[in-house]
């Protein structure tokens, strides 16, 4: 495989390897945190922050981290940034923190940050790892936001907690429940596969 440019490392996370739809990673928050656009977007930003920070730090320290204990070191790095995100969210965006609840600490065991650390940051330079983390993070954010827009508008008739259509439109409450999330995600995966088919 030819060496990719930094720009390609960035864009692959946005389309060809977008985490939830192409790699099908990080699905737990994808299903649970897309009830509303604010949740989905907030979750995406939190993951992006963790991903960029951990990718850069792990890439910078990749010569120091011994191969045998690399996973433990990755987990410590990822967990540190996740707890920082959690504390900062509690202090400044408390209502959002309440809605996201357990899914913030669960970013630690989310496959995306650990996966990128192992598959990319540990083998590549700082600039490339930054681009990779940012691309993957933004791809994740956009994916969650799109799913959340569909579910919130159809299921609750709101967008970012503001009403969209007149009250005549009866919201399709199924969309904001867990089974609705599965159906919606399945349709998105189907759409992405159709678009990706050559």
């Amino acid at each position: 495989m030819a060496k990719k440019t930094v720009f390609q490392e960035f864009t692959k996370g946005l389309w060809s390897e977008v985490p939830p739809y192409r790699l099908v990673l990080g699905l737990c928050p994808t299903l649970a945190m897309t009830k509303g656009v604010d949740n989905g977007f907030g979750m995406g930003i939190a993951v992006t922050f963790v991903l960029v920070c951990s990718n850069v730090l792990i890439s910078a320290l990749r010569k120091v981290i011994p191969k045998n204990v690399r996973i433990s070191c990755f987990i410590v790095v990822v967990a540190t940034f996740v707890i920082i995100v959690e504390l900062v969210m509690q202090a400044f965006t408390y209502p959002l923190f309440l809605q996201m609840g357990i899914f913030i600490p669960l970013i630690v065991v989310n496959c995306i940050p650990l996966g990128r650390a192992e598959a990319f940051a540990y083998k590549n330079g700082i600039v490339a790892s930054f681009a990779d983390g940012l691309g993957m993070g933004l791809g994740y954010t956009i994916s969650l936001t799109i799913l959340a827009i569909i579910r919130e508008i159809l299921g609750n008739n709101t967008f970012w907690n503001h009403q969209v259509f007149s009250s005549v439109f009866q919201p399709f409450a199924f969309m904001v429940t867990a089974p609705g999330a599965f159906v919606c995600l399945g349709l998105m995966l189907c759409l992405m596969n159709m678009l990706g088919k050559k």
């Binding site: 070191c73 790095v77 202090a91 408390y94 904001v176």
Partner: protein
């Protein structure tokens, strides 16, 4: 041996740096987090049911040990008298515990107001016990000793239609707060008296 020592030191250094960093962030945000918790979780409900009081109930709060649990009580001052206390209790709902704040007048033992704080009820169905003011309004003015039940269970509270389990949970929480109130009333009254009006 040297190899193992190297691995050990690497993980040790990582964990130590991480721990130190988190301690700094934690202490920097702690005060703000405590304030935000009171403001956003219980604040709106307490301010809503103690509407018209002349003090800030969030600042005039005290704690009483109830068994092994610390309970917070918020005092509302009406007409210069600190005679109303609000506190939180919980009832079993459809999706977990429903947190309910109940305000009680210490002189008459009657309910001043009831509001739902935290709930994990189905959005748009069970969560209406919180958003429909008519439901919580039914408790207002009733004596706290009343064994509140929804009408389907032989009580006198109209359940929110389609959300009987959630409505039952709120009734349960109000009954539970009646029990707490009976148990702790002497202590509550004593502490509330010392609140500045």
């Amino acid at each position: 041996m040297r190899e193992a020592l190297k691995l050990f030191i690497a993980v040790l250094v990582f964990s130590a740096v991480s721990g130190g960093l988190l301690a700094v962030v934690k202490s920097a945000t702690q005060e703000r987090i405590e304030y935000q918790q009171i403001k956003f979780v219980k604040g709106p409900a307490i301010q809503q049911i103690l509407k018209g009081c002349s003090n800030d109930p969030l600042n005039s709060r005290f704690k009483i040990m109830d068994g092994t649990m610390d309970r917070s009580f918020f005092v509302g001052v009406f007409n210069g008298k600190p005679d109303t206390v609000a506190f939180e209790s919980a009832g079993k709902g459809f999706g977990g515990d429903i947190g309910v704040v109940v305000a009680i007048n210490l002189a008459t033992d009657k309910i001043v107001g009831v509001a739902v704080t935290t709930n994990r009820e189905t959005p748009g169905v069970g969560s209406r016990v919180r958003s429909e003011p008519g439901f919580a309004g039914q408790f207002k003015g009733q004596p706290i000793e009343e064994p509140f039940k929804v009408k389907g269970d032989g009580g006198n509270i109209d359940a929110v239609s389609g959300a009987t389990v959630s409505s039952r949970g709120v009734c349960g929480a109000v009954v539970a707060s009646g029990e707490i109130y009976r148990r702790l009333k002497p202590k509550i009254a004593e502490k509330a008296k010392s609140t500045k009006s």
